[in-house]
Amino acid sequence: MVVDGVILKIEDLKTYFKTKTGYVKAVDGVSLYVPNQMVVGVAGESGSGKSTLINSIFRVLPRNAEIKSGRIFYQDKNVLEIDERNFNKNIRWKEISWIPQVSMDVLDPVYKVKDQMIETILAHEDVSKAEALERIYTMLKSVNLMPEILEKYPHELSGGQKQRVVIAMALLLNPKLVIADEPTTALDVIVQAQIISIIRQLKKEKNFSMLFVSHDLALLAGLSDYIAIMYAGKIVEFGKVEEVYKTPLHPYTQLLLESIPDIRKRGSKLKSVSGSPPDLLNPPTGCRFNPRCPFVMDVCKTTEPEIVKVSPTHYVACHLRK
């Protein structure tokens, strides 16, 4: 998967978690790219490895995680080879920023919003406090927050307000790439719609690229230019959003799309994927989706399908598509 004008390129990334009973293969050979100024949506269920993928890029993995192989190129630099000090000073937040889930509680409970926002700027840039504040006020305005919020502590904010603060903080340093991990999950639908429209607006103004992880295929449809479908630590399908939604090729993608309630087609029957998500300690051999796949063949149980190109921008990993 190599194309020109990509801001982020991931090659064969393997991130495993060491546990008492063995390695959990959370991300197992993922290759992916984010074209410049595009939004790439990553869809997957819990345990598919999508958060681990994001955390590997931002380098905020827990201690028992090990990157077994792979390279993550941000522009031309392999971020996995940069030392932590350098990464923190020059890349994290400044070039690549991160919008985590609301429930992650990234805001420090003992500092006022103002102090946390100022610190974000001053840690990376040599500007005066007044200049920093100026920038913060502009940023708050674009996420529809009143300046009074600066004097508050995180626990005094609603979920929607907190997420706006987190978005504002992620964009304070004008990053070129924003990685978002379920930024609207756990918010009410109307608040979610507000946050998404803010993100779209900011994207338009600031032209950053985005990697947007969500379990919600419906939400990703309206937001993304490209979509990657993850299952059990692997990308099973990748392509332009129209390609994946209109002509899904992987049985998992097909079933997933038929399992989302669409208010316009409420007479039809919802489908579901039978079986349970795989155990990543002992993933199934062959194609990882084979125990749940309605089209399973013998080869699926023994040989892992490679990801193949079916159009210049559409890739799928399935034995049916060879």
């Binding site: 639908v189 719609a193 419906a218 309206g222 079933l255 994927v273």
Partner: protein
């Protein structure tokens, strides 16, 4: 025959310096063998309403009638029958089920408490049958599992089996799929549809009006404890009257590339007015009267009611 009816129900919670009106003067009926949904944001009072209907919370005023008997005045024996025939399914099965008990005992507990099986053999038969009914096959295997060995979806099936084995007339399902993966939600919702086909009425509590639209015949929309609109599913989805319902529907993501979510309410954190319409601060169509006077439910068309000064 009317199964469960709620009349002018008020449930308030008192904290140190304020009173939270979790359910504010709500009336509704769940007809026999019907699936209805209660839709609203977090904090709209939908869970409180559901729990009060099962006599798990005492209201400040108003009544819950079960076959025309006030459930808060049931005598001991009647209450036990009420408890058996009216069940609840919670959002998080890991919270709702004792993880130290085997699946068999989780389900057997209700059977034993209500003395529904005459022998151990019969009990076993009931448990195996209900496990098969909820798709946990082979039952021999699942019945000896511990909850921690099961996935969230499987455990939710156990919670549903535990309720179904008692042959309930009515189930309150409180966000039963919102913790579960998208790919298995439909199969869990199917269990409720099947139970309904066998005669159980269901009150589905959900924040997701799209799910409500799929499963229920009528939808009730709650906002900050108030019933703001209700009607048949088609009426609510195709012809929503209340600005809040309209906003809820416009905010649902649609799995179609190129669509844009619409935000139809004001983006504000102003508090609700004391006496007026609770939506006043966020409502784009607000008038002066909305701040002063609470709108009452009026019939917009047959079976379709809305509480809004626009109508």
């Amino acid at each position: 025959m009317k199964m469960i009816e709620v009349k002018n129900l008020k449930v308030y919670f008192k904290t140190k310096n304020l009173i939270i009106k979790a359910v504010n003067n709500v009336s509704l009926k769940v007809q026999n063998k019907e699936i209805v949904s209660v839709v609203g944001e977090s904090g709209s009072g939908k869970t409180t309403l559901g729990k009060t209907m099962l006599a798990l919370i005492k209201p400040l005023s108003g009544e819950v009638l079960w076959d025309n008997k006030n459930v808060f005045k049931l005598k001991r024996r009647e209450l036990k029958v009420f408890r058996r025939k009216n069940q609840i399914i919670y959002q998080d099965p890991f919270d709702a089920i004792d993880v130290r008990m085997k699946v068999y005992d989780v389900i057997a507990e209700g059977i034993r408490l209500h003395g529904l099986a005459k022998s151990r053999e019969e009990e076993k038969k009931m448990i195996y049958e209900v496990l098969e009914e909820v798709g946990l096959t082979p039952p021999e295997e699942f019945s000896v599992s511990y909850p921690t060995q099961l996935s969230g979806g499987q455990l939710q099936r156990v919670a549903i089996a535990r309720a179904l084995v008692l042959n309930p007339e009515f189930i309150v399902a409180d966000e039963p799929v919102s913790m579960l993966d998208v790919s298995i939600r439909a199969s869990i919702l199917d269990l409720f549809t099947k139970a309904n086909e066998k005669g159980t009425s269901i009150l589905m509590i959900t924040h997701d009006i799209a799910t409500a639209a799929y499963i229920s015949s009528r939808i009730f929309v709650l906002y900050h404890g108030n019933l703001v609109e209700y009607g048949k599913t088609d009426q609510i989805i195709e012809n929503p009257k209340h600005p809040y319902t309209q906003a809820l529907i416009a905010a649902i993501p649609i799995p179609d590339p190129g669509y844009t979510l619409q935000v139809k309410l004001n983006d504000t954190e102003e508090p609700d007015p004391l006496n007026g319409c609770p939506l006043y601060p966020r409502c784009p169509f607000r008038k002066d009267i909305c701040r002063k006077e609470e709108p009452k439910l009026v019939e917009a068309e047959p079976d379709h009611y809305v509480a809004c000064h626009l109508y």
